[in-house]
Symmetry: C2
Subunit: 205 residues, 2 copies
């Protein structure tokens, strides 16, 4: 490319970006409502829980207090748990599961654990001091009907107005998606596990 070509590319880029900025400004102008949001990360792909913990980090950066309840996880120590336990004044961390359903193999005990975890979740959902609540793998407890989705929705509805809630896990029930503000489906394009790579510290746990 000669200099004139490059100049043309740069000029076209500038014009395209000016138009895009006008559109973006209009959208931003239209979106000014401040409220606590309900975010759901579902799907089979990687990134559901890690995205939740990334938002926990952001919230901590803004000085918010955070409550974490892990519904299925709890049988083994994870990087996120070790890390967040360093900040007992900022984060209350409760890993209240006993492992995946195929490891526990005991529906009655899973239900007991899920109900206890929901009691903890409710304590966070009624505390206006908590700016963000992460309910990790809650979708799985709902998928197996360990918890009643209508009761869960009622408790979420009753939370403080500015409190954010993040729900993660495969199989989010349609009723929960309906009442959520932001829902992302993590889709697998490829996964290292299928190529024989073990779940790596720092990446998966």
């Amino acid at each position: 490319m000669n200099n004139t070509d490059i100049d043309n590319i740069n000029t076209r880029h500038h014009r395209r970006m000016q138009r895009k900025k006008e559109l973006m400004d209009q959208k931003i102008e239209a979106a000014q409502r401040e409220t606590g949001v309900l975010v759901i990360n579902c799907g089979n792909g990687k990134g559901k829980s890690s995205s939740g913990f990334g938002m926990v980090m952001r919230a901590m950066g803004h000085g918010m207090k955070v409550g974490v309840v892990q519904f299925i996880k709890g049988a083994m120590s994870t990087g996120e748990e070790v890390f967040l336990r360093r900040f007992p004044d900022e984060v209350q961390f409760h890993a209240m599961g006993e492992g995946y359903t195929w490891n526990t193999q005991n529906r009655e005990r899973d239900i007991e654990k899920a109900l206890a975890a929901w009691e903890q979740a409710k304590r966070f959902l009624s505390d206006p001091e908590i700016g963000m609540v992460l309910l990790d793998e809650l979708n799985i407890a709902l998928k197996y009907n360990y918890l009643d989705v209508q009761q869960v929705i009622a408790d979420l509805d009753g939370r403080p107005e500015m409190q954010h809630v993040i729900v993660t896990g495969r199989g989010a029930p349609p009723e929960l998606i309906e009442v959520a503000d932001t829902v992302t489906e993590m889709q697998v394009i490829k996964h290292a596990f299928k190529d024989g790579i073990v779940a790596q510290a720092g990446i998966e746990w």
Copy 2:
């Protein structure tokens, strides 16, 4: 339901979970290779960068040193930046962008910034002390051809064997997806912004 029905449900659940555990054990047995992985978070949905920062948190929980380069972000302070600057011995944080392309509107200057950010990325990619490198929004710099994808891939290939790299942003180039280990596409099911809710502290930044 009477007690016999519930017993039946519980027994069926137990049998199904036993079978699932056998399958999972086989898969875990087959996946034992330890290596640094290249993870890509792409797509238009929420969760790409936040998942990256969640993995940063996990890595820190495992005592790894982390390097972060933000390619587009840098014009405004974010929760993740404020938070991670608390740990200068654990995380090196470089926000080297000047905002989205429609804000900068200057292709030549964007390229200059992207090249400088890649120089910093290369320093991390040649340092075996760094266990995880997060290249936030790198995909956008590649999509606009601000950086040469083949050069980027060559530099990624040459990194220490156990180093994990996370790349985020819309529009991941096919060549990069090809060489990655784990790729997730974040798909929008719904987004609060469209309902008039402003980008919320703790959630989006």
